[in-house]
Every structure is written in structure tokens, then in C-alpha cells.
Symmetry: C2
Subunit: 226 residues, 2 copies
């Protein structure tokens, strides 16, 4: 038996495109590195408010930069990310509260589905420019992820419960307590130390901290079937 | 004869610790990749003002994050970076105008010295917590970089000239026109396209754009002498 896997907590929100990049990189490396990846759905709006930070797009030139950079990152990370037409409406106005509450409900009862459902929600908002706020949108993402319609409906009904709302607040607060001011935030527990890493561009530094090999954002898949 | 080297413009300010990291990485790779690195001393204060951006340390949690991250990056990038004791006074209050004007004068007349003099200024402010605003401080950095006292004095006398002030404004404006909202900003001219990359954490993406091999922030040195 080798050494115990190091726990990585990934705090993310499907509203955040850079969270998607960080998420995919860690989902790939969880099969290659000696890590235990814990997905932590959190609310980016809550973290921004609590830290006094503002979305990068509030500085117009940062917004323009993001629009140019995302297509480069799409190719480099091999994640089908695409800017929504009406960024202001989709990201800043509509937000992700219901989607993140849905993911919270999933995390509480069926955590093994969290990766796939999160990915399908990102596919909607950050790839296909589709809604993620309506019940029908969330159900559709869950079903695409392989969840039964019945089960998805059950999770949907939990969205307005205090239990789910409190859990999402609790996870968001946990990120804030670690010092988060945006997402993705990765918290790495290594040899009794806790490292907080901000952004999708700290994964090579994470590899260094873990003593694992960095093979770029698209590492070779293990046990690739011929 | 191989293909012509791709021009990379690195806009930087010695006030910016992340500029130092980006600078060292590109200085290392200029001997490994088919690139022509052009160092562009610019004024970060001017870029922040023009873009409406604010230094990350204005959000307290970002400042705390930087203090934790810099020691990790020091080790990972192998750059002897160290937080000054009084960050507010050194970075936000005293600034870098004279130092950047000095580098501008050097860039105009002795550009081959720019790399070494820039590094020695960073060594003062971002490694040894030493002043970079006084004449004596700047002279000392220049001499450590291998410049004669006489030559350094000549450049120092150019600091207040309109020629030097205008040139620094011109380079800062050029960065703004490319869309910069902070430093380091790398502008890569590749196959007729212009890519702008922000931060010290986009160098692997840069390698991808150039079709060059990324070997981490500390690549093996070419022709290492035994």
C-alpha cells in the first residue's frame, strides 16, 4: 500500500469559466496523481461580496482580454468553452444560484454524480449559451449527465429547502475562511500543510507542491483503451 | 537558415513582483526558443490608471494571498523573491518612476544592459528590501549589473529629461493600446497574429502558441559548462 492520497478541495461555481478549466484539469489528474479530489460547489457571488472583490469584467479591458483569451484557452485546455453572446445578462444578471443549489443537493446525496452534472451545466452556460436558471434547463443537464428524470426531479425539489441553502452557504463560507476572493480556489492538504491556490493557472505549481509530474492541461489518459 | 524568430515584447515594471517572475522565465527561454525577446520598461501606475484597474493588494484577501503565494513561487520559479516589510510604503507610496526612467534611458542607448540592470533593481526592491528611488540606490544596482560608475551617472542625469520621460510614456501607452490592464504583459507576434498575454502564469500557453516546448519555469540551461 502506497502513501495516503492528498486531499484536494476544489471550490467552484459553474458561472465561472476559469473554474471549468481548473475543474477539467483536476478531473483528469485525479486518475494520474496520488490525490483525492473533493468537489466543493460554492457561490461565486457570495465569495466576491464577502471578500470585497469584483468580477474581472468590471474593468472593461479585463473583459476584452477574457474574450480574446478564452478561445486560446479552449484550444490549449481542450475544453469546449465559448463566450455567451450576452455576458452581462447571462453571467452578471441571471447568475447561478439555483444551479449551484442543485449541485449542492447532488453533493449531499449522490456525490458520485457531481462531476458529470457540473460538467453538463458548464456545457450549457459556457459552451452552448443555454440557460441554467430554469428548472427545465437544470433537469436537462442532469439527464444528460446520466441521472434519471425522477431522481433529477427529486433534487430539484430540494433547491428551496433550508438544508440545501444552508449547505451551500456553509461551503461558500468555508472557501472564504480559507481566504478565497474568487473561483476556482483549490485547497491542497499536503504533509500537514494547507495551501490555497487561486485560479486555473496554478495547477503546475500544485504539481510541484504535491511532488507529482505536470504534463500540461491535457495529460495522456491512463489505461487508454485500444 | 531556419525560420525567423518570433518577436515577444515583455512590458514590465520592477515594482511588480509577478513581472520579475515573467521576466526571468522569458530570459531563460530566449536561449531555448526561436524568439527575439524585446524588453519594454513601462510604468505600472500609468497602466492601472489608464485601464481603471487597481493593484490586487487593494482587496485585503488578495494581498494576504500574495504573501502566502510569493514564497511558493520563489521556490517554484527559483527567483529569490521576498516580500518587503512595509509593502504599502515601498510599493504603493514610493513607487518606481525614477527606476523605470533610468531603465528607459538604458534601453535607448545601451539596450544590451537592460536585462542585467532590471534584475539588479528587482534584487533590491523585491529580494533585499532595499530602496530603488534614491540616486545612490539606482547607481548601486547599475554598478552591480556591470555598468561603469561613469556611465551609470550619465544615465542618471537623463532621468529628468523630456526625451526619457516621453519615451517611458510612449512605451506605457503602447502597452495600453495593446489592451494591458496590469504587468507583466507579453505581446507575442506569431505568424502575422498578435497575442496579448497577461501575467507570469501564461508562459505555458505562450509555448503552445509558439509551438515550442514548455519545460517548466526553470528549463535546463543550454550548453551548460561542465
Amino acid at each position: 500500500m502506497g502513501p495516503a492520497p492528498r486531499v484536494l478541495e476544489l471550490f467552484y461555481d459553474v458561472l465561472s469559466p476559469y473554474s471549468w478549466l481548473g475543474f477539467e484539469v483536476l478531473c483528469r489528474y485525479q486518475h494520474l496523481w496520488n490525490i483525492k479530489l473533493q468537489l466543493r460547489p460554492a457561490l461565486i457571488a457570495g465569495i466576491m461580496k464577502d471578500s470585497g472583490n469584483h468580477p474581472p469584467s468590471m474593468v472593461p479591458r479585463k473583459g476584452q482580454y477574457m474574450r480574446k483569451e478564452i478561445p486560446l484557452l479552449k484550444q490549449f485546455f481542450q475544453v469546449p468553452i465559448h463566450f455567451p453572446k450576452d455576458f452581462y445578462d447571462v453571467v452578471l444578471k441571471k447568475g447561478s444560484t439555483n444551479a449551484m443549489r442543485f449541485l449542492t443537493a447532488v453533493s449531499m446525496e449522490q456525490p458520485e454524480m457531481l462531476e458529470k452534472v457540473s460538467r453538463e451545466l458548464w456545457m450549457r452556460i459556457w459552451s452552448q449559451d443555454e440557460d441554467i436558471t430554469e428548472s427545465q434547463s437544470i433537469l436537462s443537464a442532469a439527464e444528460k449527465a446520466g441521472m434519471s428524470a425522477q431522481q433529477a426531479q427529486r433534487f430539484l425539489e430540494k433547491i428551496p429547502t433550508e438544508q440545501v441553502k444552508n449547505k451551500l452557504r456553509e461551503i461558500t463560507d468555508a472557501a472564504c475562511k480559507y481566504g478565497a476572493f474568487g473561483l476556482p480556489t483549490t485547497v491542497a492538504h499536503v504533509d500537514g500543510n494547507t495551501h490555497i491556490l487561486f485560479g486555473s493557472d496554478r495547477m503546475e505549481l500544485l504539481a510541484h507542491l504535491l511532488g507529482e509530474k505536470w504534463m500540461g492541461p491535457v495529460p495522456p489518459t491512463p489505461n487508454a483503451r485500444l
